[in-house]
Subunit: 107 residues, 2 copies
DNA sequence: CCCTATAGGTAGTGTGGCTACATGTAGCAA
DNA sequence: TTGCTACATGTAGCCACACTACCTATAGGG
């Protein structure tokens, strides 16, 4: 997939992958790769700053824990994050309808 | 629709709207608005530079004509543009499958 | 001892759609 | 005749944000 097409949709991906479970950054990257059959392989330099941004925005909350000597910052959705995810999903529906419609020569 | 979500998909829209017909810049903006039921209202500062870029890339060809005293630069797809459009459509399919799959909690 | 996988992070770059602005014609209304 | 709106094309500069490149650190296997 062409680089940069992700732009504007990364937040939705991160919120979606955290829907109903807690994950740390590294595991988020793996989960996204898994769910996309390897199509998504996001660099840490993309994911970590985005997670911090989403936390600052109030959509995520994090806490540190230590598993077998390694520190992990585990993220979970906040209430606001749940709502943001719902909004992102709705926007995605609209987005694909609009662009897809034009690409198929609609109206 | 949130600004910037378009990023990476503008070329596809412009190529698609010129598929099978010739249009000038202003008419392209109107056609995109029409096809998207008003959801797309692209500013001229977005469309005109993009058209010139696509022409430089060899995907579009243009010629000037004058209609009722007004100058128009009319664009049409080149052979390479047709192929690029096909590629963009395929990429769009892949893109929506990947992102949509993650958003719906696939895999 | 080194390499890999795991884990988190920052600094700086580059792209590309956006805002804001500049230019000009045609036509209608006050 | 002045002004407004629609039509029509274009450039300069900004900024968000994903990216590249880099740094740090532990655990475990070869």
């Amino acid at each position: 997939m062409k680089a940069d097409t992700l732009r504007g949709h990364l937040d939705a991906l991160l919120l979606a992958v955290l829907d109903g479970r807690k994950l740390h950054g590294y595991a988020i990257i793996e989960a996204l790769s898994l769910r996309s059959d390897g199509a998504l392989d996001l660099p840490t330099g993309t994911v970590y700053p985005a997670l911090r941004r989403l936390e600052r925005a109030g959509y995520l909350a994090s806490e540190w824990d230590v598993v077998s000597g390694r520190k992990r910052r585990t993220y979970r959705l906040t209430r606001a994050g749940q709502q943001a995810l719902a909004a992102e999903r709705a926007e995605w529906q609209e987005f694909t309808a609009v662009i897809g419609g034009v690409l198929q020569g609609g109206a």
